[in-house]
Amino acid sequence: MPRLVSHPDEVKIVTRRFGQGAANIDRYLELGGYEAAKKCLARGPEWVITEMKASNLRGRGGAGFSTGMKWSFVPKQSAKPKYVLVNGDESEPGTCKDHLIFLHDPHAVIEGTIIAGVAIGAKTGFIYLRGEYRYLLEIMEKAVADAYGRGFLGKNIFGSDTEFQIITQSGAGAYEVGEESALMESLEGKRGVPRIKPPFPAVVGLYGGPTIINNAETIATVPHVITMGAEAYSAVGTPRNGGTRLFGLSGHVERPGVYELPMGYNLKKMIYDVGGGIRGGRKLKAVVPGGSSTPVLLPEEIENLGMDFDQVGKAGSMLGSGGVVVIDDQTCIVEFALRTISFYQHESCGWCIPCREGTDWLKKSLTRFHAGFGVAADIDNIQYLAENMMGRTFCPLGDAAAMPTLGFVKKFRKEFEDHLNGKPCPFAEHVELAVV
């Protein structure tokens, strides 16, 4: 069972009900659950969308797009049914926040989905969980059945004349399916390859109908925004970055865990105060600030860095999924880069050539490099390859592989050079022989 952690600096909004038995529907109701959904039904779609826009809630999946804005793109009239899709395919290395949401507060996901349905005029919502999360899917299925039992879902939700159905879905192992259009393909019973955009999902999405797709954390946040009011929620964060975020601290920190901190919280403080500093009294070497696809940051770059979408973007990286991976000074960056790229090589769906070939080539180069068979030109080649993958694929997976690679090569060039001329890796215990 995943351990829950706590820190005095936390602002518990989304995690407010964690550890309180809220997976039970009666307990959820006792804790104020489903009031936000009733309020939204009473106030109507336009009010909900205005409120969401004003809250400055931005997508928690990684892109950080305004949730209210996304919902407003859905046409009011549509010949085809509209859909709400909850993305619980959580697979970005370093990220495990949705895991806790499904475990501790499944009804918040259901309630958020209902509200999204009210906002765009959809009658059906899908909650898609990665296949590995079977025990969490069972929790979600039980919660959905309980919500049907109370009349919170079905033909006449909360006794109104509004219909809303929720269908849960299991994936079967594929990082790529976390990309919105690939998720729709998977949900339609196909290989999870991305679709070309435009048209965007808000116009042509699942089964060809207008669809909004939001990350599970975003959806679980929605009822709290409604309960607190947009203004109060927005005031918690920084300008244009409303509220809190579930930061997943992992790697070489003393107290890893998922912490809910206000947007804009200082990264150095997060690592040293909240996370208890670097494990074993070692020194910080680097931080991956928002899941494995975000470019690495150096200790000097995090001194005054507030963790919100805009500030981390300005620092040359991304807030991404909020997965903060802390790396100590005994770690080989070449090995870390290789493990990162091996993941993207494994997960590339093969649809676009720059991603399929690029990740494979990068993995081979880095494997050879780490094993001590690299040549000086490889460093520039790795950079050249990564630069040429950027922006040349249907979906962001190619970028997700290229961006961290560029970060590692540019910021740790010396460490790459230290692996040249057959020198053994100064850190690694697990050098694989190059088979290239």
């Binding site: 025990y135 269908i167 079967a172 339609e188 019973g189 196909k190 999870g192 992992s250 215990e429």
Partner: protein, 176 residues
């Protein structure tokens, strides 16, 4: 594909419980085919892998060709076409787990079981896999045994975990 006389219910190779579950599954979606991916996974949970006959039955239940089913099934990393052990041990070695000793853990599993990546023990009880991120980064290093998570592990705990599953199996056999 020639039209089959028998209904899915009469030709099934699945247990009555699973067959009923799959019958319900195809009716759940606006489009029948949406049941494909979960159906393959649930069938694999019972049969152990996607055998030719599993693929044939799933194709029949959805109403698509076997080739179409294979085309989709080969995309998803959890779906397999060969039997695994009764307990499939999946060790995450992705970055967060790696930083906290996942490779030492993985090596210990290899030593204890005498098998490597995607290997199955001679008695068919265990199989081993090195897998990508399983979403337990803050409780690393973590593994999954079938669908059960075990987190915050050290290599010393490996024999205990294996023993726990061996006991579980013995108890099941006794009860059966």
């Amino acid at each position: 594909m020639s039209p089959k006389e028998t209904s899915a219910e009469t030709m099934t190779l699945f247990s009555p419980r699973l067959a009923a579950r799959l019958d319900a599954l195809v009716g759940k979606y606006p489009v029948r085919r949406s049941a494909l991916v979960p159906m393959l996974l649930y069938a694999q949970d019972e049969v152990g892998y996607l055998s030719d006959s599993v693929i044939a039955e799933v194709a029949h239940r959805i109403g698509i060709s076997e080739l179409d089913v294979r085309n989709v099934a080969t995309y998803y990393s959890m779906l397999r076409f060969k039997p695994a052990g009764q307990y499939n041990i999946q060790v995450c070695t992705n970055i967060s787990c790696m930083l906290r000793g996942a490779y030492d853990l993985y090596e210990r599993f290899q030593e204890e079981l005498g098998i490597g990546h995607k290997g199955v023990t001679a008695d068919g009880v265990f199989s081993l896999e090195e897998v990508e991120c399983i979403g337990a980064c803050c409780w690393a290093p973590a593994i999954q045994v079938n669908y059960d998570f075990h987190d915050d592990l050290t290599p010393d705990q490996v024999p205990g975990i294996l023993g726990q599953y061996r006991n579980h199996l013995q108890n099941e056999e006794k009860n059966a």
